[in-house]
């Protein structure tokens, strides 16, 4: 260094720095070995950088965070790990052992001890000879916590101890003068160690300054609490591989490749990708959905409903169990019968819905909403395992075993009758809301005659590996009927035309079956989950929000979902809100927009005109009507 022209000053310290927007020079003074006082003789060195060495400090943080005590070591002038509370041991530099030999030896001993503690006989081995540091090669530390100056520390020029929070020696003295003695209090008064380095650079110095000021040993002053994290944790380590295609599982149905090839746009439903609509060349979403809707109403449409949750229930107590979970009359269901079913939370609110089919005396099949599948399975298992372990009932998820293909439209029966099958699809032999098993186009199927569209419809369950083949057979056989694949958007329009709710869209966890007008589904002569909550005064209020349909008076206006509804325009705020729009679509078969809404005392308002408060400030008059817009008698699904 000297040869390179660098001045080296022995027995000196930097006592001051000059410069306005940066370091311009430092002031060097000589200091006696006892560090009691500076000896004057200021020398100025021009420079633009001042670097300080803080010596070695063990990273005792993990030890401390694990409940271990910290002890001051005078010889090494640092805190080192003391007694442990958990089964851990500090070795090497974090134990205050800074030489390589010591690090290797301590690591070896700790490893051997850990192996023994785990019940293994350690295999002896030797550590490499580091041997670079003969004992005593390093002279003992001579701590210098602050430069002693003639004037009182409170009058010193700025002597920074925390380089992130600009805490100075004077600040620490000020804290003591204000009466703070405890290191934790001084920390909070001065902000010492509060920076993003959490005191890694300046805390030891600051505490030692405090000790000097209090005229106590550092050991007695102690240290502040070490809190995790030692260093900021990056998002990268937290995310790990869970980025891009591995961000979250993308669940695809067995027919996904067909939908892709058909040009479908997809919608994310839970983790599933579902076909949203199938635009043809030059078609927008509106046109595509209108075409798909009309196909279902006039002839034949086909949908992939495989994502529905599916559960098989077996056991002698299946009826008892299901009657406690669902609200409808389960015992009265004949074999082969299907029922729409809802389940309530203990608060009486609608939790999930689906179709229940009775496949045998002790054998049922349930469907759940796509998003609710896992939740419902957990809910059922919870009741079985924790509350009713006396019931002999077994549940098995078959969501992935079956793919579900829906054929909807007036031509659905003709299509199926024209195929190779041992199932009698005749009107009398396969009535609405029943289920049949058999063979169709050479594969075993379960066929449910249920309808979420209000049309004649069959939901065909087929083993997933065979679903693409069966789908293609339907497409080929259905060509003569103009068979049209439809997605979730068309499904929504068709069901809204019929006033069928979607749990989670038209309900939000605060809606009872009474609010939805489902009184008929509620068994009167037995108990079920949530029943008692339905008789709470709040659930009986006549002004509760109830499901209704909305039509724009004479207009063509489509109301955005979520639109707030009010009695009349104007009025001083806060304007009382009657409810909100839950579903809103253009109905291609009716030729005008329709909407479903939850409206306070909605059923009593039928025929009334209320107002939709739009975001642009306008108020649109709308008429409250029945939520069933299409085929109110349900004749089409019964044909």
């Amino acid at each position: 260094m000297r040869e390179a022209g660098v001045d080296i000053f022995h027995g000196c310290v930097v006592a001051g720095v000059s410069g306005r927007d940066g370091v311009r020079s430092v002031h060097v003074v000589s200091m006696s070995a006892g560090a009691g006082a500076v000896n004057g003789g200021v020398k100025t060195v021009h420079c633009d950088l001042l670097v300080m060495s803080g010596g070695w400090n063990p990273a005792v943080h993990l030890h401390s965070q694990a409940g271990g005590r910290i002890e001051w070591d005078d010889a090494r002038a640092c805190f080192v790990p003391g007694a442990v509370r958990q089964d851990h041991v500090s070795v090497g530099a974090c134990n205050g052992s800074f030489s390589l030999d010591a690090c290797l030896e301590e690591g070896k001993q700790a490893g051997l001890e850990a192996a023994r503690a785990c019940g293994f006989e350690p295999v002896p081995f030797s550590t490499p000879e580091a041997g670079r540091e003969p004992p005593g090669a390093e002279r003992p530390l001579q701590p210098l916590w602050s430069i002693p100056l003639p004037q009182s520390p409170l009058r010193h020029p700025k002597q920074f101890v925390d380089y992130q929070n600009d805490t100075t020696v004077a600040d620490v003295y000020q804290a003591v003068q204000e009466g703070y003695r405890n290191v934790e209090h001084v920390k909070r008064y001065t902000a010492l160690g509060f920076g993003t380095d959490q005191g890694k650079m300046g805390n030891i110095n600051g505490m030692a300054v405090l000790a000097e000021c209090l005229d106590k040993p550092v050991a007695e002053v102690g240290t502040t609490t070490f809190r995790p994290p030692y260093t900021g944790a990056g998002f990268g380590p937290c995310a790990g591989a869970a980025v891009g295609e591995l961000y979250d599982p993308v669940r695809k149905t067995a027919l996904h490749h067909w939908h892709e090839a058909a040009g479908a746009e997809f919608e994310v439903v839970g983790q599933w990708l579902r076909p949203w609509y199938y635009p043809r060349e030059g078609e927008g979403m509106h046109d595509a959905v209108a075409r798909e809707c009309l196909a279902a109403r006039r002839s034949l449409a086909i949908m992939d409903a495989s994502t529905l949750g599916k559960i098989e229930v077996h056991g002698p107590d299946a009826v008892t169990f299901l009657e406690r979970i669902y609200t409808h009359n389960v015992a009265g269901m004949k074999n082969g019968r299907c029922n729409y079913g809802i389940m309530l939370g203990e608060d009486g609110m609608v939790m999930d819905d689906g179709v229940m089919a009775r496949l045998g005396d002790r054998h049922f099949y349930l469907t759940t909403t796509t998003g609710g599948a896992a939740r419902v399975m957990g809910w059922l298992e919870q009741w079985l395992q924790t509350e009713w372990p006396d019931l002999n009932v077994y549940l098995t998820s078959v969501t992935e075993r079956w793919s579900t293909i829906v054929l909807a439209g007036p031509a659905a029966r003709k299509l199926l009758q024209g195929m190779d099958t041992d199932i009698d699809f005749g009107r009398k032999d396969f009535p609405f809301m029943t289920v049949r098993s058999g063979s169709l186009a050479g594969v075993p199927v379960r066929v449910f005659r249920v309808s979420f569209s209000g049309e004649l419809a069959f939901e065909i369950n087929v083993e997933s590996d065979l679903a693409p083949a069966l789908w293609q057979q339907f497409m080929a056989a259905g060509e003569q009927y103009g068979i049209t694949p439809y997605g979730t958007e068309t499904m929504h329009v068709l069901r809204a035309e019929k006033g069928f709710v979607i749990v989670g869209q038209d309900t939000d966890g605060s809606v009872t079956p009474l609010d939805l007008g489902m009184n008929r589904l509620l068994s009167k002569d037995r108990d079920y989950l949530g029943k008692r909550s339905l008789v709470r005064p709040d659930c009986q209020r006549p002004d509760r929000k109830q499901l209704v349909g909305l039509l724009c008076e004479g207009g063509r206006e489509s109301l955005p979902e979520g639109t707030q509804l009010v009695e009349r325009p104007g009025g001083a705020p806060p304007v009382p809100k009657l409810g909100h729009v839950t579903s809103s679509y253009h109905s291609p078969c009716l030729g005008h927009p329709i909407a479903l809404a939850l409206v306070s005392a909605g059923r009593a308002r039928k025929g009334d005109v209320i107002h939709a408060a739009l975001r642009d400030g306008r108020h649109v008059p709308i008429k409250v009507v029945s939520p069933v817009f299409y085929d109110p008698k349900g004749e089409r699904q019964h044909v």
Partner: protein, 211 residues
């Protein structure tokens, strides 16, 4: 089956896109295995009659311990105290189910054909344990998880049934159908993270996932 019918494996599209490119070191081979029918069987393990009937019908012992499986004509995994998964050659499960139902008539049990709902992959190779351990909270160390053991556990963001067939080690991994693509992608990525290749290969008859 009549003409025009074919089976399409859940990973058919995914396997089409497989190029086999990646790091040169092979950590483990990932075989996508199609050829199983699956039956989910539930019943009372303390019922001698039930256990005897099943074992006699399947001509194979049911694993008595938790987290074990038995091999033979079927592979039978114990999923829980009262639940087993019976994997058989694809196409034989119907007949097996029929015999079980006949012999178990009048007893309290549940037998559900879940074929098509699960996908089996076989991960085999010197670093298979490492590949799995990166996404599995279970202790896979040979001391803790020996050949003949199985467990339902996590695989990154999905779940799996994992069974250790031998000490190669060979892990049989059964995931739910719609999570198979995610699991295969994840295993491939996990291999790449230790600079090794995990290449999904279809090992079904004819090597074609659509047949």
């Amino acid at each position: 089956m009549s003409d025009g019918l074919y089976r399409r494996h859940a990973l058919a599209s995914f396997l089409e896109g497989e190029t086999g490119n990646g790091p040169e070191n092979t950590a483990a081979d990932l075989e996508v295995r199609p050829d199983y029918g699956y039956l989910n069987l539930r019943g009372e393990p303390n019922s001698e009659r039930f256990m005897q009937t099943v074992q006699k019908t399947l001509e194979q012992p049911l694993p008595a311990e938790a987290g074990a499986f038995t091999s033979g004509q079927h592979t039978i995994y114990r999923l829980g105290p009262d639940e087993w998964l019976v994997a058989s050659e694809l196409g034989t499960e119907n007949e097996t189910a029929g015999r079980l139902a006949e012999n178990l008539a009048g007893q309290c049990y549940s037998l559900v054909d879940v074929t098509g709902g699960q996908i089996m992959m076989r991960l085999r190779g010197p670093r298979a344990r490492e590949v799995l351990a990166r996404g599995c909270t279970l202790d896979l160390h040979p001391r803790a998880f020996k050949a003949g053991r199985c467990a339902q556990t996590t695989l990154a963001k999905t779940s799996m049934l994992i069974a250790l067939a031998d000490d190669a080690p060979t892990f049989d991994i059964i995931v739910r159908r719609s999570f198979a693509e995610y699991a295969a992608r994840w295993l491939r990525h996990s291999g790449a993270s230790i600079h090794s290749r995990v290449t999904p290969v279809f090992t079904g008859a004819g090597g074609n996932p659509v047949r």
